[in-house]
Symmetry: C2
Subunit: 251 residues, 2 copies
């Protein structure tokens, strides 16, 4: 599934709250966009429950298959925060107290007049050999072990952690995309669009229909890491839309 | 991962538009809730690209492991709609023109004064032996093959298709949940909460922190298919919150 010039990532979202429908995930869309900006393509997302066996199995299934793996969720101080211990087991490593992390937590809680109790100290435990990921929002760090980056689930913290680690990622060319909107139905243009796709293998063309009170609406998304190929395909799709008597609009 | 009294499901979201960050998925949250209402628990979600090999591999990896598998996306008329053909290959079945589906499409397009052209006719192709899933919105049906239910990606259509198929699902007891909100931090109550969790194995207790201008905020979500166990654990968590001088609020 990986093209040689593509740097790929998989995101594992650890969270019963997403699988129950109670919480809408916000990290997948953010990471997809942020990774693309550094030339890494999010190729798969898995949302799994807070169950140790599921975490271990999923991490070990994906880490050999993608250049980078990100996890979100499960690194707080409560009993359902089992990500660090599960990742350590997935790698066959001990979970150890990281003195640097402990120091950061100690300073942060001290500044707020709070006690670094046993539960909070859990957030300083990482697999042996892990490299910390800074958390400028709430101190408790994420960590990197091998090609796996372990982030918090709270979206603001996940974003801050990603900003802290992005310089560690080696990406390929970022993908650029342009979108054409028109008032045609997919069935009308499918054949013509397919011919353009065949003639432009470096461009991914996606077709996304919706319906409005004014009739069908169609978004045609062209994406490529080759700007020239993208522009050529864009011109062809726009011309094709006009042959159906419709004026294309860039979205 | 499956408890004997739990009926499980996996959702496969097929869509480059989600993996690029361009579109926010809406089907996972809907299906999680709708499945729970019929006693089926969504245990995993995978978001994968519009690539045949990825679809085949994912479908075959999950269908023996869950009671039900749902897919969304990729069943329209354009070149990037490869779900039906990929599912047929995953099952080792031919992709055939379904006469019933063709009739429905023919009637729907005729009513709109449109032609059932070659591209639109693709939407009448299903793996041999598949059972159609009605689409009251835009006619083109989904289908069921084995324990795999293939739905459209457009959320309104996915919902309508789910309503059409839900009577086919045999669920266990629906999960009920209650949520307690309080103005405490996770680190304060982690130990006490863990003790309540240990004493209530039939209840899943999740802890979800956030921060506001007024300080920390915490949602404690209790879920169980055993209403009595849920109420007992709820009372214990509420009492525990009060011991920290905070008044619990039901959310």
């Amino acid at each position: 599934m990986t093209q040689p010039d593509t740097v790929t990532a998989c995101l594992i979202i650890i969270g019963n709250e997403i699988l129950s429908g109670r919480t809408q995930d916000a990290n997948a869309a953010f990471l997809a966009t942020a990774l693309n900006e550094v030339g890494v393509r999010l190729r798969e997302v898995r949302i799994i429950p807070d169950i140790e066996a599921a975490i271990i199995e999923t991490v070990n299934a994906v880490r050999p298959r993608f250049d980078y793996v990100f996890t979100t969720g499960g690194i707080g101080p409560t009993h359902d925060d089992i990500t660090a211990a599960s990742i350590a087991r997935a790698f066959g490593l001990d979970l150890v107290l990281d003195e640097e992390a402990r120091g950061r937590l100690d300073a942060a809680y001290r500044a707020r007049g709070l006690e670094l109790n046993e539960a909070r100290l859990r957030m300083a435990r990482v697999p042996r050999g892990a490299v910390l990921i800074d958390n400028p929002i709430s101190a408790a760090p994420g960590f990197q072990i091998g090609n796996v980056f372990v982030l918090a689930g709270v979206p603001s913290v996940a974003r801050a952690m990603f900003a802290s680690l992005r310089s560690r990622l080696a990406g390929a060319s970022p993908l650029v995309s342009r979108t054409i909107g028109c008032r045609l139905s997919e069935g009308q243009i499918a054949q013509a669009l397919s011919e353009i796709q065949d003639s432009a293998p470096a461009v991914e063309i996606g077709s996304y229909p919706s319906w409005t009170d004014q009739g069908p609406q169609l978004s045609l998304v062209l994406a490529s890491s080759d700007r020239g190929a993208l522009e050529r395909a864009f011109a062809e799709v726009a011309a094709m839309v006009r042959t159906f008597g419709n004026e294309p609009v860039e979205l």
